[in-house]
Each structure stands twice: as structure tokens, then as C-alpha cells.
């Protein structure tokens, strides 16, 4: 019998509103502890929540992007539990009437197939603060914990999928798709390393073909795409091992330890809290007018799927290239700028997905931080197209731009004298020289058949490039060589 992994994800996305979901305090990341927590965030006696309208709009935009029903009388509820980083002793969240109802996210897999992953619902809630367990706090001595409430009250949408994924690959594809949707919408920076996007994975296994789901474990707070992949794989294998040894899976919450690449039990179902959800009496049900929904629908940007299709049809790109370019809105926008400036979409796609993407990955940079601007790359490609430089020299120019050695491709080409030699006279002289200096190879060439000749001509081209420092126009060199050697 073959095992099958069943995965459902709960994804928390921090919305990038200016202020918190229920208070006016700033949500900026990285400030000194507790400098961005106001009376409401501290849950001082008598304070009351007021819903941030932008957070509501962001959630509606997300709902529209996944084709979900928007709840027009959404209710906030209190989820009650005690924890030091939860100032009110409850989290204001949603349960029975979440803002976003059932929707669908389409994922593309590496084999080119696509799958529909259903979203059960998405709801708005407030983030908690952070507990800092550090060995030593200044003025407080050892073994103390600190509470930073800057994050408390940051708006979140929690996106809950159905258990529709069947492999770690699908789970990661789904997560990446959510990431591109939220960044396209501009409602979050989606930065997993800063916790702007966090993932809990519900994992179970069963025999392929079985109807019933197995008992699931929930892996909490996985903070990178790679760890989601590894945590699911290692947890599924753990469950298979337990079952194959005749054991039983217990429903529990587990933690993924990336250093040891293993999951560990945090608490079992029996130890779980009774959250005593009930409608928050400080917030009235949120009535959403149809007109607001329609107005927001008109604000929806072109989403990743639509953009990918357009890139294929409008620019004639392959599905693979279009998929790579549309994963992030910033990359897609960058590509379109380069395509327009250079006048050659295919070359633009090759450069963005190739040289640029490799350089960014190497430096662990995102495209917004790219030292080479779309204008510069567009200019570079123009010079390839008009034969000012060869593809090989272009890579050198790109490196020069990346290292900020010049403001534009033209400036760099001029400064370094990299202009391609296309002057027939000059090239002829070089060709003659190389032929004269290599009589043996010339003889070999002339004796060879057509098939072998194709290989042998490379030697002459290489020699000419050496003589020309790579600047000889390769097309013209080939043509001249054919003429002169063929004789």
C-alpha cells in the first residue's frame, strides 16, 4: 500500500496598514520594545477598540482576489486565554462570521499541471505581542522574560485552507501563491523572515485511495518556504513510521526544529485551551455595503494568474518563463519595464530570469534592491539587439552595472571600449591574420567534411575573439571565415 500525505495550511498574514487593527499606534517593524504600544494596546482599564477601516478593506480585497464570498455582517469575537504577551487576556478574532468566506487558489506544479486548493475562510484578527526569553535583561537579572507589545494589535488575516494538499510540494506552491496574491494586492510585504507571513501546517497521512482522513498533527509557526517543505516531509514520515510500527497518531500541536530537522510535541488536544469564543461586545457587527465591495473590486490589480496568461500571449513567453516572472509583482513590473525599454520581450525575460535573478539570489536580495535598474538593463539589451555588443560582452557590461562602475550600459561600453567590431575591413584583416598563423588547422579544416567543419570553425572564431578582445561581431566573423576557408 502506498501512503498519502494530507495537508491543510493556516496562514497568518500581517497587513501593512499604517496603524493597528484596533488602535492608532504605528505598526512599523523594528522599533525599541514597547514604544509602539498605546493605552489600547496595553489593555489599560477602560480602553476600547475601534476597527481600522483599511484592515477591513485589505481583507475584502484578499477575498475578492480568491473569488470568495464577502460576509456583509461580519462579527468579531473574543478568543479567551491567558498569556503575558496577550494584554487583554483575549485575542479579538473572528469565528462564526468571518469577513471572507470560501474561495479558491490555483497552484501550478513543476510538471506543468495545476490544482485548485480550496480556502475554507479567511478572518481578521489582532496579533499578540512578543515574549523575549533572554538570559539577562539589563537591570532585571537572570532568568527573566520581557514582553514587547509593539506587535500587539497588528492586523492579521488568517487564511484557512481545506485539507486539499497532497504533498509538501503542493503546500509550498500554495503558500507561494498566497504570497504572490498578497504582495500583488499590496496588503502585506509577505516577508516570512520578519514574521509578516507565518504558517501552521495540519499534517496527516492515510493509505492512498482511502476516504477517511488520518489523525492530524498541527505544526506551529513555520517561518520559511523551505522549512514548510522540510517540516511537512519529516512530519509525514514520522507519522508513517509510527503507523507502520503499529502505533497511533495523537492529535496534538508540534513544533518544527529546523536545526535537527524534526518535529516535537508541544501540547496534546487534552491540554488545549477552551477559548470560550463569544461576540465581542465592544465591537458591533461590521456591516459592509455592496457598494464598498464593488468599489474595491474595481481597485483589484491584475493578479498573478491573469498576468501570467497575458505574458504568454502578449510577449510570446513560455509558460515556464511567464510563471517565473509573475511570481512576484515587483519582478513582473520590472520585466515589463525592461521589455518596453529594450523592445525585445524574450531577451528581457531571459535576462531577468537568468543573469539578474542569479545575481539577486547570490546576494540574497529582492528586486527592489537590485543595483541594476530596469532602465539600465533595457539599455543593455538594446545594445545587444543593435549589435553594438555581443551576448558575451553583455555579461561583462551587466557585471559593471551591478558593481555601479557606470550609470548606463552605453557609458560602460564607451569607457571600456567594448564596442563590437563590425567594420568589414578590420575584421578581414583579423581573419587573414589568424588563417596565416594557423596553416595546420586550415589544412585540417579544408580536408574535413561538413559535419566536422562546423566543429573546427570554432577554433578560428575563438582565435579571432582573442585577437579582438571579444569585440568582433561573431556573425560577421563566421561569414568571413566561411568565405575565406571554404575557398
Amino acid at each position: 500500500m502506498e501512503w498519502e500525505t494530507v495537508i491543510g495550511l493556516e496562514v497568518h498574514v500581517q497587513l501593512n496598514t499604517q496603524s493597528k487593527i484596533f488602535s492608532g499606534a504605528s505598526t512599523a517593524f523594528g522599533s525599541a520594545p514597547n514604544t509602539q504600544a498605546c493605552a489600547v494596546d496595553l489593555a489599560l482599564p477602560g480602553t476600547l477598540p475601534v476597527l481600522n477601516e483599511q484592515a477591513l478593506k485589505d481583507a475584502i480585497l484578499f477575498g475578492l482576489a480568491i473569488d470568495a464570498e464577502i460576509c456583509q455582517a461580519s462579527v468579531f469575537e473574543r478568543k479567551n486565554y491567558f498569556y503575558p504577551d496577550l494584554p487583554k487576556g483575549y485575542q479579538t478574532s473572528q469565528m462564526d462570521a468571518p469577513i471572507v468566506g470560501a474561495g479558491v487558489v490555483e497552484i501550478s506544479l513543476e510538471d506543468g499541471s495545476t490544482r485548485q486548493i480550496r480556502v475554507h475562510h479567511a478572518h481578521l484578527e489582532e496579533d499578540a505581542g512578543k515574549s523575549l526569553h533572554e538570559a539577562n535583561f539589563e537591570h532585571h537579572g537572570q532568568g527573566q522574560s520581557g514582553i514587547d507589545l509593539n506587535r500587539a494589535g497588528t492586523p492579521l488575516i488568517e487564511i484557512v485552507s481545506e485539507p486539499d494538499m497532497r504533498s509538501a510540494e503542493e503546500a509550498v506552491a500554495y503558500l507561494r501563491k498566497l504570497h504572490s496574491i498578497i504582495t500583488y494586492l499590496g496588503i502585506s510585504d509577505g516577508d516570512m523572515s520578519q514574521g509578516s507571513m507565518r504558517c501552521d501546517a495540519n499534517v496527516s497521512v492515510r493509505f492512498k485511495g482511502e476516504e477517511q482522513y488520518g489523525t492530524r498533527a498541527e505544526i506551529k509557526n513555520i517561518n520559511s518556504f523551505r522549512f514548510v517543505d522540510r517540516a511537512i516531509k519529516v512530519e509525514a514520515q514520522r507519522q508513517i513510521d509510527v503507523l507502520e510500527d503499529g502505533g497511533k497518531i495523537v492529535q496534538e500541536t508540534r513544533l518544527y526544529d529546523s536545526d535537527k530537522n524534526e518535529t516535537r510535541s508541544m501540547r496534546s488536544k487534552e491540554e488545549a485551551n477552551d477559548y470560550r469564543y463569544f461576540p465581542c461586545p465592544d465591537l458591533l457587527p461590521v456591516k459592509i455595503e455592496s457598494s464598498l465591495i464593488e468599489q474595491l473590486r474595481t481597485q483589484l490589480p491584475e493578479l498573478p494568474d491573469a498576468k501570467r496568461q497575458r505574458f504568454e500571449s502578449e510577449y510570446g513567453l513560455s509558460a515556464y518563463d511567464a510563471g517565473l516572472l509573475t511570481g512576484e509583482r515587483a519582478i513582473a513590473d520590472y520585466f515589463e519595464d525592461v521589455a518596453k525599454l529594450s523592445g525585445d520581450a524574450k531577451l528581457a525575460a531571459n535576462w531577468v530570469n537568468g543573469e539578474l535573478s542569479a545575481a539577486l539570489n547570490k546576494e540574497d536580495m529582492n528586486i527592489a534592491a537590485s543595483p541594476v535598474s530596469a532602465e539600465q538593463l533595457g539599455g543593455l539589451i538594446q545594445r545587444i539587439r543593435d549589435n553594438t555588443i555581443s551576448g558575451k560582452i553583455a555579461k561583462q557590461v551587466f557585471e559593471g552595472l551591478w558593481n555601479k562602475e557606470a550609470d548606463s550600459a552605453d557609458a560602460y561600453i564607451d569607457a571600456k571600449g567594448l564596442k563590437q567590431v563590425s567594420d568589414t575591413g578590420a575584421l578581414e584583416a583579423m581573419v587573414d591574420e589568424v588563417i596565416a598563423n594557423n596553416p595546420e588547422q586550415v589544412e585540417q579544416y579544408r580536408a574535413a567534411d561538413d559535419g566536422k567543419r562546423k566543429k573546427l570553425i570554432g577554433f578560428f572564431v575563438g582565435q579571432i575573439m582573442k585577437v579582438s578582445k571579444g569585440q568582433a561581431n561573431p556573425g560577421m566573423v563566421n561569414k568571413l571565415l566561411n568565405e575565406k576557408l571554404g575557398g
Binding site: A39, L44, P45, N80, Y90, I147, R276, P281
Partner: protein, 484 residues
């Protein structure tokens, strides 16, 4: 001075017969003299009050006095006051100095009031006798062996004893009206959403509402003018225009229909109160109002319904008192659970803990449908009773409390009997309606009261009806024997 009404004091200030400083000083003297007995204040802010009074006098001299310029008042110690201890009568907040002002405090300050101090209450406003305060019980100025009612017992006792001309209160199940009744005062519980709850420490958020406790309906109208209004910081506050309450006091009540629910004259009602209410209603007929017998069939469900909803909300509203950020923290906690358990065990009093337990139970998995959801359904039925009744009548009248002030300790150990003290006031909170309590006679030397309930946001109608009764009666003019 201490038996004057707000209207009289404002007149003396306007005519420069007295300065705010003189008036304020006379109240501070009265407090010093009598509050040792009454215990109506938790905190007296004498120095600050005198400074405010002098500033008010200067403003008035300059000719730009706001409406209540120089009027001394007292705040129930449930309203946050910037820089002043705001205790909610709990050990939990004994050391809590609020860093901000409640909207009500801010609005009254903007109207020019002088704050004498913070008045006593039942701990976290949970009680009907003011016996659950961490700062000790309050005594009723009409009989110091009796309770003043609760939870705004300190505010009521202070006004009745002449230790403040008027005070703020809050009413979750009768906490303005019942103490006003037991102390011979006029207390207005506004419609839910009329007065901002921002900065008013929450007991049960869907029921709490701030309002004035005054000697007269006219005084209550003057105070309401400054308290009422939409507040962006309170999502449950309603954007309904605030009328000129004082100007509306003489709106004719001739031809108005007063509904008299048969359920409000049930077995537990003290005969003297039943008689006083009937007599008052006869006076209303003389004023031209028409009495209509009505029925509010779900009345008897109000107390059980309330004692699910209010504790349920309270149980989570009070979760924030955990010893982590402010307020009481137990000595030497061993670990996190110990910190929570002992802080809350030691910081809260018995009644508060009882309600947290009841509310936690009502919201628990497996009990939610039977208690909380059921109570919400009953709440709608109670509200519908009123909606139906108000199709026929303009006001609904009955007693405020079933008994006059009872002896200290008499009901302290019997929560159910204590809860029944709120039988006539609770349904008004559940329905979100405005209601006013006004003096209507005496029983054995202790005041008894009439309650009028109005339509949503018709505080003006209630104040006018009460004011006109007070033009032909003098129950509200009587002075308590233990007043200064």
C-alpha cells in the same frame, strides 16, 4: 451651600454671588466633616479641585466661562482620570494611576467642572449595596445603618449627604437608578450608546452606560448636556443628535401615554413603594398624562438572563487584570501560573470572583448554547416586549427598586436576594433603553422611587416628565438627616 442644586450653584456663580473657590471649599469642608461616617469618597482631590476652581474663577472673570464653569462634581471611581488613582474600588487597581482621561471626564472638564474626587462603588461595579468595595461600605445618609444601594453608592451618598452637588455614575443593571432611589435622588441611565464608554472601566460592555446622579431632573439635564454625544473612540457609541435637554424640560406631557406594566407590581414589591408609585402615577394623570395598563411578558426572565450575560462579559473584560502590566501583583510569584492564580485570587474580592466563575462557566464549551446563546435569545424577547409596548405608550412607569434601603450586611451573604434588588432595573439595560429614577415618597423615613422608562434616545422626554413631576412634588427637596 451643600444642599443647593446645580442650577442654583450655577446661578450663584454667574451672578458672582459666590466664587467657585468658595463653593469648592465648602464642599471640601463638608467632605472633611462628614465623609468619615459616609465613606462616599475613595479619593478626594482637594488641592487639584481648588486649583481648578481658581482657574474657573479667572475664566469667568475674563468672560469666557463654559457652561459648567466652576461647578464642583464627583466622579464615580470607575472613570479614568489622568494622573489620579482610578481604583474601581478594587485591591486590583489600588495602585493604578490612570494615564488618560475617560471621554466623560474630558467632556465635563471641557465644560469647566471642578473635580472634588472619586467616589466609592461596589468593586468593579458588581453589587447593589456598595458593600463589595475594597475601601469599605458606604453608608446611606438617610440611615447610616443602611446601604446606599449600588453600585454607584458613593456617588449617590455623596450627593445625598451634601458632599457633592452632583456626580457621575454608571448603570449596568440599575447601578445609577437603584442608589438614586435609595438615597432620594434623581438618576438618569441614558440609552445604550448615548454616553461614551471610553475610559469607563468595563463591567459588562453591552450593558454599561454612564449617567448623572443629581438632586433634580433639571440638574441631571444640565449634566447630561455635557456628558452625551457620539465618540469615535467608542464603537458602540451612537451618532444621534443631542437635543438641548434643559430647554426641553418644559415640553408638555399633557396627552402623553404612560404604560403601567402589570408585571412591575409583583409579589416581592414593598407595599409602601407600590403605594407611592400609584400616588405618583395619579399625579401624572393630574398633569394630563394618560395611564395605560400594559404587559411586558418576559419581565421575570430578566434577572436570570442578566446574570448570564453580565458575568459572561465581565469574565473576559476582567482578564486583563493579570499582574503583568499594571495593578496588583502577588508577592514573589514562582512561575507564570502562580503569578496569575495568586494575583487574581488576592486582587479580586469574593463577588467579583463569583461573577468571573459564573461567566466563565456560561461561555465554556458544552454550556455556551444552554446559557449564553439562550440568554441572548431571551434578551431579544425582552427588547421586543418594550418595542411592542412603545407602539402604544410614550413612557413606561413602575418602581425603581422593590425595597427601600436595607441594613448593612442584611443581604451581603445572600447573592440571589441581592440580585433581585435589580429586578425592575435590569430589563432596561438588556433592552438598551433610557430610564430615570425619581423620588416619590418615603417608607419609614427612607426614600422610595418611581422609575420612568423611555424610548430609545428619548432622554429629553424622560427628563421633562421627571422635571414636571418635581414641579408639583417636593420629595426631591427633602434633606437627609446625615447630610451636612
Amino acid at each position: 451651600m451643600p444642599s443647593y442644586t446645580v442650577a442654583e450653584i450655577l446661578q450663584k456663580l454667574e451672578s458672582r454671588e459666590c466664587s467657585s473657590e468658595e463653593i469648592t471649599q465648602s464642599y471640601l469642608d463638608a467632605i472633611a466633616k462628614q465623609d468619615g461616617t459616609i465613606n462616599s469618597y475613595i479619593t478626594v482631590t482637594a488641592e487639584q479641585a481648588l486649583a481648578q476652581a481658581r482657574a474657573a474663577d479667572e475664566l469667568r472673570a475674563k468672560g469666557d466661562a463654559p457652561a459648567l464653569c466652576g461647578l464642583p462634581i464627583a466622579h464615580k471611581d470607575i472613570f479614568c482620570t489622568d494622573g489620579i488613582r482610578t481604583s474601581c474600588a478594587s485591591k486590583m487597581l489600588d495602585n493604578f494611576i490612570a494615564p488618560y482621561n475617560a471621554t466623560v471626564v474630558e467632556k465635563l472638564a471641557a465644560a469647566g467642572v471642578v473635580t472634588l474626587g472619586k467616589t466609592n462603588l461596589d468593586e468593579f461595579a458588581m453589587g447593589s449595596s456598595n458593600e463589595t468595595s475594597f475601601y469599605g461600605p458606604v453608608r446611606n445618609p438617610w440611615d447610616i445603618n443602611c446601604v446606599p444601594g449600588g453600585s454607584s453608592g458613593g456617588s449617590a451618598a455623596a450627593v445625598a449627604a451634601g458632599l457633592a452637588p452632583i456626580a457621575t455614575g454608571t448603570d449596568t443593571g440599575g447601578s445609577i437608578r437603584q442608589p438614586a432611589a435609595l438615597c432620594g435622588l434623581t438618576g438618569l441611565k441614558p440609552s445604550y450608546g448615548r454616553v461614551s464608554r471610553y475610559g469607563m472601566i468595563a463591567f459588562a460592555s453591552s450593558l454599561d452606560q454612564g449617567g448623572p446622579i443629581a438632586r433634580t431632573a433639571e440638574d441631571a439635564a444640565i449634566m447630561m448636556q455635557a456628558m452625551a454625544g457620539f465618540d469615535l473612540r467608542d464603537s458602540t457609541s451612537m451618532d444621534v443628535p443631542v437635543p438641548d435637554y434643559r430647554a426641553a424640560l418644559n415640553n408638555d406631557i399633557k396627552g402623553k401615554k404612560i404604560g403601567v406594566p402589570k408585571e412591575y407590581f409583583s409579589a416581592g414589591l414593598h407595599p409602601d413603594i407600590a403605594a407611592a408609585v400609584q400616588t405618583a402615577l395619579a399625579e401624572y394623570q393630574k398633569l394630563g398624562a394618560e395611564l395605560v395598563e400594559i404587559s411586558l411578558p418576559h419581565t421575570e426572565l430578566a434577572v436570570p438572563c442578566y446574570y448570564v450575560i453580565a458575568p459572561a462579559e465581565a469574565s473576559t473584560n476582567l482578564s486583563r487584570y493579570d499582574g503583568v502590566r499594571y495593578g496588583y501583583r502577588c508577592e514573589d510569584p514562582q512561575d507564570l501560573d502562580d503569578l496569575y492564580t495568586r494575583t487574581r485570587e488576592e486582587g479580586f474580592g469574593e463577588e467579583v470572583k463569583r461573577r468571573i466563575m459564573v461567566g466563565t462557566y456560561a461561555l465554556s464549551a458544552g454550556f455556551y448554547d444552554a446559557y449564553y446563546r439562550k440568554a441572548q435569545q431571551i434578551r431579544r424577547l425582552i427588547r421586543n416586549d418594550f418595542v411592542e409596548a412603545f407602539k402604544q405608550v410614550d413612557f413606561i412607569a413602575g418602581p425603581t427598586a422593590p425595597n427601600p434601603a436595607f441594613a448593612l450586611g442584611e443581604k451581603a451573604n445572600d447573592p440571589v436576594t441581592m440580585y433581585l434588588e435589580d429586578i425592575y432595573t435590569i430589563s432596561v439595560n438588556l433592552a438598551g433603553l433610557p430610564a430615570i429614577s425619581l423620588p416619590a415618597g418615603f417608607s419609614n423615613g427612607k426614600p422610595v422611587s418611581l422609575q420612568l422608562i423611555g424610548r430609545d434616545f428619548d432622554e429629553a422626554g424622560l427628563l421633562a416628565a421627571a422635571h414636571q413631576y418635581q414641579q408639583i412634588s417636593d420629595w426631591h427637596r427633602q434633606i437627609a438627616p446625615h447630610a451636612v
